[in-house]
Symmetry: C2
Subunit: 293 residues, 2 copies
């Protein structure tokens, strides 16, 4: 059993660039071409750049001004977040939380810089994006673009993945799977990993909940989020080299073809809310029960 993971070094992507064509060309030059059943992982940033999902020099609204007064976060960033959100769900006061933690010392190359940045951006906003996901700062990103430019993730990443897959089929006559990836913070660890926000041509999860194990017992589990694992694997090449590898090709994985997208595995907001409330209640009840029974 063997997988190969190739990073494609592309040039800077500009608006109206044809991503599928560029991928086919660079794959030809750098890895001898794409093959049937390859999985192509593409960072959402270049999809957004090519498709023009960019807010350019935006003027803040009243709501952004309000939110900026409350959070102290940069005004134009807030306007971009608002424009890319259906709902602002929570505000995480990062600076306050990390007081007395080892974060500034341990996770940065320059402690002073980190503290200054935490002063400028003292909180993280959790928002529901236009495509119904939860995302930090609504997925809006301002790194590696000019000042006052804000990139936002594709409004329908499954559709972008499907479009790119179709186009590659047209150009090369082969069927590949396409995953659009993005970086998201982790709840239990200091840091972030890449996840899939869009997919086409691959079953996003293994549907093995309650399958029988070798001893004939039903397995409580067995739903691997394959597309997230693929996005994470790709990030190993995308993330550590300082830019220049926005596309990764994974070869050799035996996956199931599917027309489902990432949309189908996202827990809907109502279940997250219901889950949080019921979990809090159940936990409080249990504490009371443990004391008195």
């Amino acid at each position: 059993m063997e997988l190969k993971i190739y990073g494609l070094k592309l040039g800077e992507i500009k608006e109206n660039d044809n991503i599928p064509e560029i991928i086919c060309q660079y794959a030809e030059k750098q890895i001898g071409g794409l093959r049937e059943k390859d999985i192509i992982v593409i960072t959402s940033k270049i999809v957004s750049k090519a498709r023009g999902y960019i807010f350019k020099e935006i003027i803040p609204s009243k709501r952004a001004i309000k939110l900026s007064k409350f959070t102290g976060k940069p005004l134009k960033l807030l306007e971009a977040i608002i424009r890319n959100s259906k709902n602002i769900l929570a505000i995480i006061p990062l600076k306050k939380i990390l007081e007395d933690s080892k974060f500034p010392e341990e996770f940065t190359q320059d402690r002073e810089s980190a503290i200054e940045l935490l002063n400028e951006e003292s909180c993280i906003i959790i928002a529901e994006t236009k495509d119904g996901r939860l995302a930090t700062d609504a997925g809006v990103d301002m790194s590696n673009v000019p000042n006052d430019f804000f990139i936002y993730p594709p409004p329908d990443p499954d559709k972008e993945a499907s479009r790119i897959r179709e186009e590659i089929k047209r150009i090369l006559g082969i069927d590949v799977a396409v995953i659009i990836s993005d970086t998201e913070v982790n709840m239990y660890r200091y840091g972030s990993t890449d996840i899939a926000i869009g997919a086409s041509g691959i079953e996003p999860v293994s549907r093995c909940f309650a399958s029988l194990d070798r001893y004939g017992k039903r397995k409580f589990g067995g739903v691997d989020i394959i597309v997230d694992e693929i996005a994470s694997a790709a990030a190993l090449l995308m993330g550590q080299t300082s830019e220049g590898i926005p596309v990764v090709v994974i070869r050799g994985l035996d996956y199931k073809l599917s027309d489902k997208g990432v949309k189908d595995i996202v827990i809907e907001r109502k279940f997250i809310r219901k889950g949080l409330i019921l979990t809090m209640l159940e936990t409080i009840l249990y504490r009371i029960y443990s004391v008195f029974v």
Copy 2:
């Protein structure tokens, strides 16, 4: 830029088996041997099996009986969870939450089986394990072991990783990185991915928070959890083939040597609690502020 990921097919691991020796042998046979700077990902389950981290036919305590009355979860499983916990932090009433959701239909191969299993195990317990991580059911696992046997994760996975790394160094004279992986549920998606619970010989995260981007702006982010991304990449080979691949070798990744472990990147419980409370307060305040100001 190219990574290779090899799955090693091992036989059934038994108590007192020498994992490092077995890995060296099977790597020799199946992939022509290990090399300097290879990353070896090992599922925690075989480490636990070899080291005897197994509760065998345990007798439930009064506390387990109490908890079982409250949660309806199997008695012996609860005893195993209690034995492997420092604290029970939350109870997630999964069955209630997933009522009216698409879960039983969409994520299983057999709807009836799934519903029956959700009736038997209607909730998930979030506990702090002995090594200070948050884990579903305290990391206790009963699949693919005989009835009434419960496997628990190594009490100090960083140390197990380091022990295996040292042993491979002794046998082959080369330095590899070792990661112990486990499966954990995801909060935003229906399913689970693999994470690193122990590591040795590799910097667990890239420490680039507040580094400058190409436009000279400080990057809010840049802390990739490399060890989790590696565990996820390995899971692509471990998870989908029906067992038999508990060890994966990753070759070609340019990583930094380090003696830090996973312990160093886990957010301490006090910050998680502080984070949750401050986030709730900040969010409520913001809602009030938005209405009145």
